[in-house]
């Protein structure tokens, strides 16, 4: 089954039945809760116990917003699907929700928001649903308005499912153009199922405060079994280092490297045995370049 973004625009895909399915699936609830907790963690809000005013972009039926409320914050949610928002109201979420299209701009006063999260939503901007939609204009309007409404030094953490590298890059480009600094944190990069990408953006120039934490799973941690079960079937993502590691020195059991002296000694031994050994020259056991 193709990804949702290729099936229909979000306000049509998330109709009443899909919205209900989404909100009653315990698996989805659990995943969304986990992603929301992680996004909140990445927001790096001050630990002063003071509730903040946050945005939840693509809040849907309020699954992610609940995480914000549980952590004591006030939030304003945006979603384009009336069906999803109706469920949010039904579930009596504590944040205010608005029916709106993020690609039209958020329509908030400058500098009023302490942070923004978005769970599995921003990639929808990359798909042109109507002939008048131009993804680039929409990305520009979204990031521009997001940047304006955030307080200085505030962060936006956008978890998204980009279809491919082009999309990721396009999204990142428009974020940077709007003035954001930041980058991508990838959790579980080697697991196709568990892998999650978080675009962590800071309002303002790069500084120590904007340094990104490491993604989970980079230290060789194993993520939980259920997420990893399908790993072998699908391709994993390769991470290529720009600088290849230098060719290691050959080391014998005692920890000494096999240098020129050792080679010359060995050749002498072979000659004494009676083997045919090439004569020694200035080229014998010379260090060769790493790339042969």
């Amino acid at each position: 089954m193709p990804r949702p973004e290729l099936q229909a625009p979000p306000e049509i895909f998330y109709n009443d039945s899909e919205a209900r399915k989404y909100t009653t699936s315990s698996r989805i609830i659990e995943i969304q809760a986990r992603i929301s907790e992680r996004a909140l963690e990445l927001l790096n809000l001050p630990n002063d116990g003071v509730p903040k005013l946050l945005l939840d972009i693509g809040c849907g039926s309020g699954l992610s917003g609940e995480t914000l409320s549980e952590n004591g914050h006030h939030w304003i949610g945006y979603d384009i699907s009336q069906s999803m928002l109706d469920i949010a109201v039904e579930r009596e979420v504590e944040g205010d929700v608005l029916l709106g299209d993020m690609g039209q701009g958020l329509g908030l006063r400058p500098g009023v928001v302490d942070g923004a999260i978005s769970i599995s939503a921003v990639q929808w901007l990359c798909y042109a649903d109507k002939s008048s939609h131009e993804p680039r204009m929409r990305l520009k309007a979204f990031f521009g308005s997001l940047y304006r409404c955030l307080a200085r030094g505030a962060r936006a953490v956008l978890q998204l499912y980009a279809e491919n590298m082009n999309q990721s890059e396009m999204i990142m480009t428009y974020a940077m153009r709007a003035g954001f600094s930041g980058g991508v944190v990838v959790d579980w990069p080697h697991s196709s199922k568990a892998r999650k990408e978080y675009l962590v953006l800071t309002c303002g120039p790069a500084s120590l405060q904007t340094a990104l934490p490491k993604g989970k799973g980079e230290d060789g941690e194993m993520c939980s079994d259920e997420d990893d079960s399908d790993d072998d079937e699908n391709q994993t993502v390769g991470v290529y280092e720009r600088n290849r590691p230098r060719k290691k020195l050959k080391v014998n059991k005692k920890g000494k490297s096999k240098g020129k002296q050792w080679v010359l000694k060995k050749k002498e031994q072979m000659r004494r045995k009676g083997n045919d050994v090439p004569p020694d020259s200035k080229y014998t056991a010379r260090k060769r370049k790493a790339y042969f």
Partner: protein, 122 residues
């Protein structure tokens, strides 16, 4: 929709230079009690446009906010209680938000304001 949110919203229509504040027309509203958090109120106060909050609260029949407000009033429990009530406890269920420049109405149904712009407004 609470007045906290109303205080942050600005009209997004193309060409509009001053879309704030949106005029609040309320047909139905309710009061939902919520715990008062003085720290939050003190933190959010500098960001609040007081005149907009005053007007919106009056539209909901709550006239107990002072005409002007400054940070020194935040030490008064009485002021905090009124501020808290206006900002967080009044919920607009049905009504509309009106752009001050174009007069365009954004309807509010079941507490959800519809801020979707038409094709020609983007």
């Amino acid at each position: 929709m609470r007045l906290l949110t109303h205080n942050m919203l600005s009209c997004n229509i193309k060409g509009v230079t001053n879309g704030f504040p949106l005029k609040l027309e309320a047909d139905k509203w309710v009061t939902k009690e919520v715990d008062l958090n003085a720290d939050f109120l003190r933190g959010i106060f500098p960001k609040i446009e007081w005149s907009a909050l005053l007007a919106a609260a009056r539209a909901l029949g709550f006239a107990e906010l002072p005409e002007q407000a400054d940070a020194s009033m935040l030490s008064s429990d009485d002021f905090l209680r009124r501020f808290h009530h206006a900002l967080l406890e009044l919920h607009v269920e049905e009504g509309a938000l009106v752009c001050p420049e174009t007069g365009r109405k954004f309807p509010i149904n079941k507490g959800i304001p519809n801020m979707l712009l038409h094709e020609d407004e983007v």
